[in-house]
């Protein structure tokens, strides 16, 4: 873990070497983020609810998913960019070091520009919480907390799956984008606004629904089922097969070669 923290500081140092580029990228991230936000705003300009979800309910959902994604893009960039590590051959270098391979991959990259998204997601989250008028109970605080954590965990898991896939194909880009970018855009809205099939897919195949649908129902008072408050915990179980897939990929890599 010390290694990871140390690497983070090195990545930050590297990035700050290019001052102008850092600032421009930081600003452009704000623009990109705002365009997502703007789409939702203009949608609600025409309709005042989508399948019973109001603007701030959707925005809460949106900000939690964005927060989780931005968090992983910042701090788990090494896993996100794993295909590059394999293609460039730098992965071999990591195998020559006496530290856990997974920690090393995690440490291999970090993208501090995405912190700008992290901050914006947080701001929108706070704005929608203020406007939602929810009677806050301790359980609801826990629910919100679990939603945020599970949003991070789910993207972490998907990154990991995509990385494992790279061991086999060397390049894993498109499949990953289907689940991360595609999934992220879907999950910005409460999954319930889509057709039943989507809900099933995002419950059982990629458990987005446990991050932002079932707990959201409880949080905004659409459901009184206390069980829903703890559904984000299921996402942690999802991590297990993701880790196993990575382990399996490692084994295959070593016996197949570069």
């Amino acid at each position: 873990m010390k290694l990871y923290v140390k690497s983070l500081s090195m990545h930050l140092k590297s990035m700050l070497e290019y001052k102008a580029s850092f600032i421009i990228a930081f600003l452009s991230q704000i623009m990109v983020f705002f365009s997502y936000y703007f789409i939702i705003l203009s949608l609600f300009d025409k309709f005042d609810n989508i399948k019973g979800f109001t603007l701030y309910e959707v925005l809460l959902c949106f900000s939690i998913i964005q927060f989780g994604y931005a968090f992983c893009e910042t701090f788990a960039r090494g896993i996100d960019r794993f295909d590059r590590l394999i293609i460039s051959g730098d992965f071999d270098r990591l195998l020559l070091r006496p530290k856990n391979i997974f920690i090393q991959v995690l440490s291999s990259d970090a993208d501090f520009i995405k912190i700008s998204r992290l901050i914006q997601a947080l701001i929108i989250m706070i704005i929608s919480l203020i406007n939602l008028n929810i009677s806050i109970t301790p359980l609801k605080v826990i629910t919100l907390f679990l939603m945020i954590i599970s949003a991070i965990v789910i993207f972490f898991g998907i990154f990991l799956l995509a990385a494992s896939y790279c061991f086999i194909t060397i390049q894993g880009l498109e499949v990953r984008n289907l689940f991360t970018d595609g999934g992220k855009h879907m999950a910005q809205y409460p999954i319930g606004v889509f057709k039943k099939g989507f809900l099933l897919f995002f419950t059982f195949v990629i458990p987005y629904a446990f991050v932002n649908y079932y707990p959201l129902l409880y949080f905004i008072g659409k459901s009184n089922n206390v069980l829903y408050a703890f559904t984000p915990l299921i996402v942690f179980v999802y991590l297990i097969p993701c880790f196993l897939a990575f382990k399996l990929g490692m084994k295959k890599y070593q016996s197949v070669g570069s």
């Binding site: 590297s14 020559l96 016996s255 070669g257």
Partner: protein
Amino acid sequence: MSFIYVNNISKQFKVVKRPSGLKNAIRSFFKRDYKIVDAIKNVSFKINKGEIVGYIGPNGAGKSTTIKILSGILVPDSGTCKIKGYVPYNQRDKYVKHIGVVFGQRSQLWWDIPAEDTFDLLKNVYDIPEDEFIKTKNELIEKLNLKEFVNVPVRQLSLGQRMRCEIAASLLHSPDILFLDEPTIGLDAVSKQIVRDFIKKLNKEKKITVILTTHDMADIEALAKRIILIGKGSVLYDGSLKKLKSKYDNNKYINIITKDKINIKNKGIIKKERTNNGYKFIIDSKVINISAFLNLISKNATIDDVEIDNENIDNIIVKLYEEYKI
């Protein structure tokens, strides 16, 4: 048992067979034909502690594959390999502490920040105690003469400077075995000299075992007493460089400066070539010795000057490759 013990290792790769052309590219997207290629086949050798071994062979001979297996990155399909009592690919975590690897074509330094920062990170990677780390680091900085540029971002260094930092980075944890994969590639004469001298000293003082792959025969000549030649995945020659040289050393290169015309034919003259101020001969000294040859020439012409050279090692290697048809 030897320090490095490699017995009968083989490794095959599955390579996608794809003829060129868009049509074939599309076809192979749906159905792939694989071809099994032997990267290395029944390779065996033993290396003792403190040896410097030159591991040579043409491109694609299997050098890198061997190095990857020896350093624990790849698992061989068959055969055994034991280094310092470890099986590299099974006991990777414990084993890699004892080795240092320099890839001439691949950097382990962080591009945008000074090399010293990378050294700091490596301290954490290898869990080197602080006092030991400072001592080793200062020693390396002094011996490799890094002082002036160890604090400059790596991207601003020259290739020679970077390679010296690269070597320092691989030695911070005081390994017993050093793998050098083309360490002098692209370096100028001075940098090459510094690198060679350093490796020589290191081997002498610390008894580090060095395995060196290179295409620069001057590296081998300067460093390695023993070479292992590999071609098409098999070991073709394993022995002293001297013996190899003496086998091919009969050829002498003789440069003769003269204004006269020389028109001789004799046994033992392999090649005659006109230069702008004389002639260049290659003779086989087993058939005709040098004095006999010069005698012959001086009967025909006035010799202004003469230069005699031994076969250089590059040519020996070319011949060796030809002889083994690799």
